[in-house]
């Protein structure tokens, strides 16, 4: 019972492999909102999980998706480890690659 209240209260860290940036992600906070609050220029647009602009690839570690990514990402992307940063909370420290080339889907 106590474990339920204790879980996920420790901040995790996200490391951006291509830019050597490392920042803290608080519990119940998304990867994108944490990045933006640190002043990181993370590509984003809708912030509600529908455009896919903020997608990134998790190389190591685990995230908790707040939505079903399969509406926005295709199966190949999901299999390759892509997640939507605006709808991902961290379950562990992670290393990510950001696809900064794909800023606008539409």
């Amino acid at each position: 019972m106590l474990k339920i209240f204790k879980k996920n209260k420790i901040p995790k860290r996200a490391a951006l492999l291509q830019s050597n940036i490392n920042f803290e992600v608080l519990p119940r906070t998304t990867l994108l909102s944490s990045a933006l609050s640190k002043g990181i220029d993370w590509p984003h647009r809708c912030k509600v999980g529908s455009c896919g602009t903020c997608k990134c690839r998790v190389v190591s570690g685990e995230v908790k998706p707040n939505i079903d990514f399969s509406y926005t990402l295709n199966q190949e992307e999901i299999d390759a480890g892509f997640v939507l940063a605006c709808q991902s909370e961290l379950l562990s420290d992670i290393e990510v690659e950001i696809n900064i080339k794909n800023k606008e889907k539409k």
Binding site: S33, K47, I67, Y71
Partner: protein
């Protein structure tokens, strides 16, 4: 201060309970929901010139209490279910020919049985307040956890569970673009928009689900089909009303659904009428704000559309005036205007001209001019 800022958003919950109580008491009190709607229209109109900014403390934090506001929104699901149950009870009494007589339950006197005219009042009251439940279905659609599911259930009570997906994946992405069925182009009236927007959003949700299932190698008829599931969530309402009154029950439910969806689509209509977005990010200029004080409190800040569409992840109590296009009046007042399309078009004309002049980009202005010529038979003041 903190108490007041949170309590002011309780107008709909309290009014919904009063409406339920009115239907329970019966006789002419069954019209309570309609009377409240009319009363609020007057209040909204009288206070249209009062506009407030979002209040924050010295540290820049909102006074909103998240756990309280979410609790209220979740509690609204059983409240809306109760509205349907109390209406179904009255329909049962009417179709069973229960004799009109005054009874008491403890110290509360109520009329057992209901006349046809007062049943109509109960149906319209229920429909109006079920329709206003949209504001909670909308807010919770932006919560990606259990709130999303509660949103689906609230919308299912109006036969519109597809809204939750379509709103997030279609409306928020394609706003102001021809791909968004919830954006009304210039020249369209609210009645036509209701049907086109409702059907368009359901089709979007259908197509999105079909594509997802195909990608996953699953058939369309599947327990994971959330478009289908959404309509299944509406089945308890259908069974309840058929059980309560057969054909009369079904007609009453149809009336509730039509009127509540009309209110939903009227909000979409008012929120983006005539605004145009060329490809690119959604900006403040792609929505109309309706943020007079009563509208803000009653509609839990849903009228701060400009901020909401740019910061879709933001809680309603944190939304603010961002200097976007603004009708200058509240939703109740504007809703009355939309009911008579020529009057609405006359009212909105100056606002659209202002948008074309002061908000639109060159590309958007070109499209606006085309609409103005094709749909309205005039060129914009801006060329």
């Amino acid at each position: 201060m903190k108490f007041f800022i949170n309590a002011r958003y309780l107008i709909v919950p309290i009014s919904s309970l009063i409406t339920i109580f009115g239907i329970f008491i019966g006789s002419t009190y069954a019209w309570t929901g309609v009377i409240l709607f009319g009363l609020y229209t007057i209040i909204d109109t009288l206070t249209k010139d009062i506009h407030l900014k979002a209040e924050i403390d010295d540290d820049g934090n909102s006074y909103g209490i998240k756990i309280f506001q979410y609790l209220v929104m979740y509690v609204m699901l059983p409240v809306f279910i109760t509205i349907q149950i109390i209406l179904a009870w009255r329909i049962y009494q009417y179709t069973s020919g229960v004799v009109l007589q005054n009874l008491s339950l403890g110290s509360i006197e109520y009329q057992n049985g209901i006349s046809g005219i007062n049943l109509i009042g109960a149906v319209i009251s229920s429909a109006l307040w079920a329709g206003l439940g949209i504001i909670y279905g909308h807010e919770l659609s932006h919560n990606k956890k259990e709130g999303f599911f509660v949103s689906r259930l609230i919308m299912a009570l109006s036969g519109a569970s597809h809204f939750t997906y379509a709103h997030v994946y279609n409306h928020h992405l394609d706003l102001g673009h021809e791909d968004d069925p919830a954006t009304a182009p210039r020249g369209r009236n609210v009645y036509l928009h209701t049907w086109l927007s409702h059907a368009g959003q359901s089709k979007f949700s259908f197509d999105m689900e079909a594509k997802k299932l195909k990608n996953q190698g699953k058939s369309f008829i599947n327990k994971d089909n959330r478009w289908l599931l959404g309509y299944f969530y509406s089945l308890p309402s259908i069974f309840l009303f058929i059980w309560s009154g057969g054909l009369v029950g079904l007609v009453a439910l149809a009336a509730v659904w039509i009127l509540s969806n009309f209110l939903l689509e009227a909000l979409n209509f008012m929120g983006h009428y005539g605004l145009i977005r060329k490809d690119g990010a959604v900006e403040h200029r792609h929505s109309w704000d309706n943020d007079s004080v009563f509208t803000s409190w009653f509609f839990i800040e849903i009228g701060r559309q400009c901020d909401h569409h740019v910061r879709g992840e933001t809680y309603f109590w944190e939304l603010d005036d961002v200097g976007g296009p603004n009708y200058g009046i509240g939703y109740f007042s504007l809703f009355v205007l939309t009911l008579y399309p020529p009057l609405f078009r006359k009212f909105v004309h100056k606002h659209l001209d202002n948008w074309d002049k002061n908000f639109a980009t060159d590309e958007e202005r070109l499209i606006a001019n085309k609409f103005n010529i094709d749909q309205l038979g005039k060129a914009s003041l801006v060329s």
